[in-house]
Subunit: 352 residues, 4 copies
Amino acid sequence: MSLNSFGHLLRFTTWGESHGPAIGAVVDGCPPGLQLSEADIQPWLDRRRPGTSRFTTQRREPDQVRILSGVFEGRTTGTPISLLIENEDQRSKDYSEVAQAYRPGHADITYDAKYGLRDWRGGGRSSARETASRVAAGAVARLVIPEVSIRAYLVELGGDPIDRAAFDEAQIEANPFHCPDAAAAERWAEAVDAARKDGSSLGAVVECVATGVPAGWGAPLYAKLDAELAGAMMGINAVKGVEIGDGFGAARLRGEQNADPIRPGPAFDSNHSGGILGGISTGQPVVVRVAFKPTSSILTPVPTIGRDGQATEIATKGRHDPCVGIRGAPVVEAMMALVLADQKLLHRGQCG
Amino acid sequence: MSLNSFGHLLRFTTWGESHGPAIGAVVDGCPPGLQLSEADIQPWLDRRRPGTSRFTTQRREPDQVRILSGVFEGRTTGTPISLLIENEDQRSKDYSEVAQAYRPGHADITYDAKYGLRDWRGGGRSSARETASRVAAGAVARLVIPEVSIRAYLVELGGDPIDRAAFDEAQIEANPFHCPDAAAAERWAEAVDAARKDGSSLGAVVECVATGVPAGWGAPLYAKLDAELAGAMMGINAVKGVEIGDGFGAARLRGEQNADPIRPGPAFDSNHSGGILGGISTGQPVVVRVAFKPTSSILTPVPTIGRDGQATEIATKGRHDPCVGIRGAPVVEAMMALVLADQKLLHRGQCG
Amino acid sequence: MSLNSFGHLLRFTTWGESHGPAIGAVVDGCPPGLQLSEADIQPWLDRRRPGTSRFTTQRREPDQVRILSGVFEGRTTGTPISLLIENEDQRSKDYSEVAQAYRPGHADITYDAKYGLRDWRGGGRSSARETASRVAAGAVARLVIPEVSIRAYLVELGGDPIDRAAFDEAQIEANPFHCPDAAAAERWAEAVDAARKDGSSLGAVVECVATGVPAGWGAPLYAKLDAELAGAMMGINAVKGVEIGDGFGAARLRGEQNADPIRPGPAFDSNHSGGILGGISTGQPVVVRVAFKPTSSILTPVPTIGRDGQATEIATKGRHDPCVGIRGAPVVEAMMALVLADQKLLHRGQCG
Amino acid sequence: MSLNSFGHLLRFTTWGESHGPAIGAVVDGCPPGLQLSEADIQPWLDRRRPGTSRFTTQRREPDQVRILSGVFEGRTTGTPISLLIENEDQRSKDYSEVAQAYRPGHADITYDAKYGLRDWRGGGRSSARETASRVAAGAVARLVIPEVSIRAYLVELGGDPIDRAAFDEAQIEANPFHCPDAAAAERWAEAVDAARKDGSSLGAVVECVATGVPAGWGAPLYAKLDAELAGAMMGINAVKGVEIGDGFGAARLRGEQNADPIRPGPAFDSNHSGGILGGISTGQPVVVRVAFKPTSSILTPVPTIGRDGQATEIATKGRHDPCVGIRGAPVVEAMMALVLADQKLLHRGQCG
């Protein structure tokens, strides 16, 4: 029960290692009759693809997706949709040192502890490369929820937050950081360049907002919308924290500050709740914030041990993202889409 | 698919409403041969029970648990363990106003949106009373992981954090706030008294640490230990944020600060990771932090609408916790135990 | 993962042992707004209840069901429905011998092999008493599928089949065997009396027909309607065979005999398929046949071994059904209802 | 929730249509450290492969399997194993008529009813071609249970049973019918030739025996070993009946005939139970019998309707198995392996 599946009614299963021949996803439970071709998926993969700016890894992966099943004459048939992405740029030699020693902050030591062996090439299964499969599956999920718009962007990088007053949605696609604040994006460019020069890396916070979610989605009590989102986001590589709405900030508010007054409509005066009450959507935008730790693969040497248990140190060479949070944004969006699509179908099944 | 079950191999299902005749849990998959009686469960329920100090709701519930199945001659048989807790103090009249109007911050409006009707007595199924079932189930889970110690405590209340330098584990049970800092506990008592007097409420942050977790627990990729914990915690009533290890703080560190150096043993110089790498336990303490919003039931009137859609306002009378985070700590512990016990069995099944 | 749950969207979990204080079921995922009270469940339990004729066990169990949750003001709320049935006639002394030796044909030896211990009182969890929980859950499921009528009856008892030409539906409730052939019912009465006198027991075949199932229910490929039914039926105590439509008889037909010609409507000239093609309902009646072995609890002594591994023999005293198939019919109906209701919701979720 | 996954701890998901570019399976939860290469899977696929004798379809499919993930340096890593089989002989033109009219006995009409559209090329997802994925997954499952031997063979074809007295295990691989009775195999050859000449088809009964299964496997109550087997077998294309042990024959025995006496060891005098009591293995051979209907694709014209609802008739040309039961035997074996491997891991997880 390695449990490489996610979702209830719309359920996807991913497979593949960083340096194996391919990676992929099987999306099961997609409603029939939706128009779907590779062209619906490829743009989302392109957004996540490495090597698109100097601020991401220079690994070259075209990430061309192929649909192997579940679509006939351009429409989904209700049967499993198999998505395949071949790995092309597999320079395993870059990783030879990793075979011998555990990289601190990586899953090397824990995979060995769990399984007694591991595919050390580029982190194997634990590589963030797997998230391409999620992005592909997420593209299918988006088709299930045409009423919903999802947008993720960075609100903090290297501890430097955006200015909320300068929030400009048009900026998000205008810079390589998915940053809605143009001034912050400039500061971040310098920070990332400096970190890379130092052989270091930076963390980031991604915010994701889904608008158009109707009231009533969520499956209480143990598949609440917020619980599903939290599990989905915390399972993304390098994520260490998840907030819904005001999140940890809500813990510093008083009851009367935090309650979102309800007006006829219904409408709400504020959205401290992040669009979720009792695990069910309110009809307001669903708001999630996700903390990415700094990339663990750094050139700065760190003390560690080898597989033989002896002390050594390791500097992770190779081509790495100086800030994994940047490429995390499209993955956060994909998981948001997958959770919402699943909850839509669950709701229809029980209450439709 | 209301999905009132949680867990994979150790799986529990809860049922019951705040003001129905009883609440309960069915724990399935518990290994056979463990010594279990009501006396193993009752102390944990007593810790969570309302009315134990002036800082919690004055609802009187003895919360006596009965084991109805799954135990024979004092030992678990491997069959489902049915746990029943009768509701005694059901003053439904307290809630008559709630029948007509939606309490802001509560699940009233979303349950109605989802189901088209709701049990308005005390919040019905969405009441935090349900968490007693989790605590009871968690007591069973603890027996499955005798190698693990779990301790939850408040590290912040009303925005006022503890002083980490003053951390004294012995203090945790010495004050009604599960607070490890005696001075903070005194300040919090004043703050909670003041908030209640004002008809207001406060939020809190609970930290939970599990020691003794061996390396290797966790089911990547979509039932990672941290993902399961995040889902489990975010599903607790009033929770809006979850962090593992340094959490959002990790997003402000540089790569070389955040990497926990590994030493022969293996041992680690630090625990920024919170005991989890790649979704699998490292052998270090597992550390989770959980943000509770302020109680939504407040005496201060808040604008809202009635079931008829008309504007009104509501002040939630009745007996409510001025800070639900206080009684949240035992629930956080229970969910930690349930996740870890489940992961132990999963690991044994796949890799044992 | 004792896995005491069944179903996907409409999911029930049962608990309880033959001679514990109570047994019960939690039904999760029931749509909201359905009228439900104990009066909707009790008649189905009464049909299954022991002691209603001399052809069933004389154990006296009123089998009064209580609804503990999930219903408010007479309607389902969408939250889990907890059903409780107290055990009253628990003469554990009848079973003292069973504590020492394994009854051939029973689960005594296998529960010990699996769990290392067992509740020997009346078979504990493996007792057919648990099926009362299924019947109660099935009564809820029936409300989910008002368009469907389900009828189970015996078509063979002790190797003596009914005469299909004499099939009279009105007879089914007119005799204690759920037998649609009055003449067969008379022969069976004699056969069962004789078997009981001999300290023996008899097997039976139950047929169950669901009419009104629309075309399109079924979740291929691994939750096909027929696969779900087969699993559901084979899991009933004492069942050793399941057929859909012509079943094993279909293996003796030629292709052109077995194909059910399709006419405009659509309509079918015949129903060899039992209303299921490719795991999906055709719109014709769904037909299942279930083989019950003879009761294993017999007065005739059979060689066995004790828990100490030594040879002995055992004659199972106590109050037992001479033919468990008789009381099996209501259980088969319940499982049919539970599978169909679940598939209806699944279909609505994916294709609705 | 098309539910194209099967299993609990060892879980596989299949995808692919008869005439799409490829089919495949993802096997999740396989224990780490097992030696696995394509050479461990290919022989089982070769046994099932079409075109190996004149008694099976002449479609030419090399069915070469590729392992795309989950194996490193020749051993399983504990991560998902992705298996891919390309479709080569896709003569879609053979199926053009099927696009317009529903073949009686096929899933054409039900897929349309369920999904509103279907991939009509060779039956699309409902084609028995998908069972190649199961056979591939089953080959992996076999590695998980090296203590178990599984053997499936035909015991009846076209209504003509084998002579149990002539049972010779060596014969099973010596004829194209997996028939343990040489004389029956000769008769069957004539019968199949005649049926094909007539444009007809025949049914068959497959028996499968697993030896070496230890006592204690099975997850009561709703994942009992026999219930899982029944669901697994009934879900195979063209299957209409499943028996465990004596099956329907048990319903004609008396209690003292059917009880398998237990001797010290433990050992049993007989195996009417088919190696399963109370849903848990006894340690005896596990015996299942599976009824396959005659192939629905026949040259004899049968009345049907078109997608337009108008009456027509159809004779299914193309290359079809005259008796699908023949190629069903390897699939039955695969499902037996998959169920047993899953139950082994479940048992280890809960009771290990």
